[in-house]
Symmetry: C2
Subunit: 374 residues, 2 copies
């Protein structure tokens, strides 16, 4: 008997589910692929919309199977209903995404189903982007860089007074600049579910600090924008580091080191290369310039995150592409390239683009100038 692929999840939590059926709903739903056919089993609430929107799937009614199960049990459980569905599709062996709920798997195994774990991602083809997927990524990345241009233009238009930035006569804060970016993203049908990083000075040394309070001159300002397109569900992601007014010499050196590291990666990423080699070379390049990595004074300093993560229908697509673990890059893969350096008292610098790996190198999606002082 053939092994069926089985997913029970929300499309938001499981991008493989969206990839397989091109349908999204707020609550979990049932997807089965067996003998070359795809099935969606939907509640009454979603069934009509599913029939209109889902691609390449036969849509079955969940309530009909629940009614069947109710003939055997007064209050049929999800397992009882699944049992009816699998019986009708003649399925006994299942392959499920490794992140599937273990209580569901335990329950199915008790009923005699053989369950094996699929790969991550469940559809590995998803990692090597098609021409259409690349277009969606470029559209997302173009929107991101339009926002970056908006941020840079706003910073450039600021006047420096009392160690603060004034934009159109008012103190410019991280929150205000972030709001400008979010408003404009929304207008273009993008959302930034985890916010956008606009951080300044001491806040920049923590790569996931979103930033707050007044923006200041002569300090690092990190702008990291990573929204999702509501139309395509693909993500964009880019970071630039700015400094309004003259930058201190030490910050310039930090910036130039990060820029050199990023350029090294952009020149050397290509199909067949091990991401770990690139990551380790950047660490070495930083060290040669005097920028060490490790716990210094009780906190992590230097370059303590990976160079690049996969990106597509997920913001962080496993596995990490360019980092401290072996990963052979393949043509069509999409990865961020975002080395960074962070030191207490000096600040943080990160420069990020996303690229598609090719046989001969890599292609930067969209693109935007890299300059520290604005």
């Amino acid at each position: 008997m053939a092994t069926a692929k089985f997913i029970y999840d929300t499309a938001e939590r499981c991008p493989d589910l969206y990839y397989a059926c091109k349908f999204s709903a707020p609550d979990p739903f049932i997807f089965i692929e067996t003998r070359g056919k795809k099935y969606l089993v939907m509640s009454d609430l979603e069934i009509d919309r599913t029939k209109k929107q889902a691609k390449g799937c036969k849509v079955l009614s969940l309530s009909k199977f629940t009614a069947k199960a109710a003939k055997k049990s007064k209050t049929p459980s999800l397992l009882d209903t699944l049992n009816e569905i699998f019986k009708s599709l003649k399925v006994k062996k299942l392959e499920m995404p490794p992140a599937s709920p273990f209580s569901l798997v335990d329950g199915l195994r008790k009923r005699g189903y053989k369950i094996q774990s699929g790969s991550t991602p469940f559809y590995p083809k998803r990692l090597q982007k098609t021409a259409d997927e690349k277009k969606a990524l470029i559209r997302a990345q173009k929107a991101v860089f339009d926002m970056m241009a908006l941020a840079e233009k706003t910073l450039r238009a600021c006047k420096i007074r009392n160690n603060k930035l004034y934009y159109k006569g008012k103190v410019l804060t991280c929150e205000a600049l972030r709001e400008m970016i979010h408003f404009e993203l929304m207008r273009r049908n993008f959302i930034a579910p985890e916010s956008t990083i606009v951080a300044c000075g001491a806040d920049t040394i923590d790569p996931h600090n979103f930033g707050k309070g007044p923006l200041r001159p002569h300090q690092a300002i990190i702008v990291d924008i990573f929204p999702k397109s509501i139309d395509s569900l693909f993500w964009g992601d880019a970071t630039r580091t700015f400094c309004v007014g003259k930058a201190p010499e030490r910050l310039k050196k930090l910036y130039n080191a990060v820029k050199a590291g990023q350029e090294y990666a952009l020149k050397n990423i290509k199909a067949g290369v091990n991401g770990r080699k690139i990551h380790e070379t950047i660490l070495k390049m930083f060290k040669e310039r005097g920028f060490n990595t490790g716990e210094i004074g009780g906190r992590m300093q230097g370059f303590f995150h990976s160079t690049g993560h996969g990106i597509g229908l997920e913001l962080h697509e496993s596995p990490i592409r360019v980092g401290p673990v072996d990963q052979t890059l393949k043509a069509g893969m999409c990865t961020s390239v975002e080395p960074g350096l962070y030191y207490k008292g000096l600040g943080g610098v990160r420069i990020e683009d996303i690229v598609i790996v090719t046989k001969t190198g890599c292609q930067v999606l969209a693109g935007y100038p890299k300059r520290l002082e604005v």
Copy 2:
């Protein structure tokens, strides 16, 4: 040996994780509760922020355990590292959320760990809201109703011409009204990750159709707003149905039926009551008024969703509170109360509030008038 609670997930995917440690990060992290103590095991990237933000947890360094595991295996897996963590905390028996990844559970079982499934939610206390949690829900719901007032005010200010609504001289569309709501939500630090429903006429018969195109007079307009507070991570949720200009008699009857159903629920929800009874009574009330439920002309029509879902740190908190399954309501639980009726050719009506169950009844959070014609 004591059983430890163990979660490996993101706080976004697992609200119980956020509930337990009050910390959120984009990538999965490790939480262990054993012998009355809570531990977080964090990557170098997050460890400093965790120490500052997490509540009531001892924060351990993931890379230190990975280094230990690396002494035994050249490329230590997550399982190798977890093994080191559990050994150091003297843990062999684990209770994990039922939705935990089965590949991880299979791997731990192979290494001799005893794993049992916890309840849903993992911390059942989370369902019965504390005074502070109730305050956060009220704040969220107040924001939702401010948006509802904005929507109603905008609709009321429209002029009817050529079967369209004109606001400040321009055709008012679902998209434009939704954008006004989203902009104002953002200003208040709320996000609507799954959009806001502003649907009109034929689109209203599908409860999850977000709506598009021009808004029209003399038809049902459903506005369903369900954002999350970025500050508290609690959700708000409310729906009103409007009609600009005179409503057709049939739509008025539909509206009055739904309103009567909702009022019945609000009067009868209290601790000790079975949600199923309330849901079934509303179905009966609708039927008595001539509004039947079932598949009519190949699609579901009538009242084909539940009356109410739990809400809190999740928009839909399991289990369904007031619906077709037995659920005894308890004091402190929070549920939506949102009957609806949907008919092809006539349109849809839904009215939704959220309430906290009390010993003697229920308290509507915030609140807003119910009127069809604006």
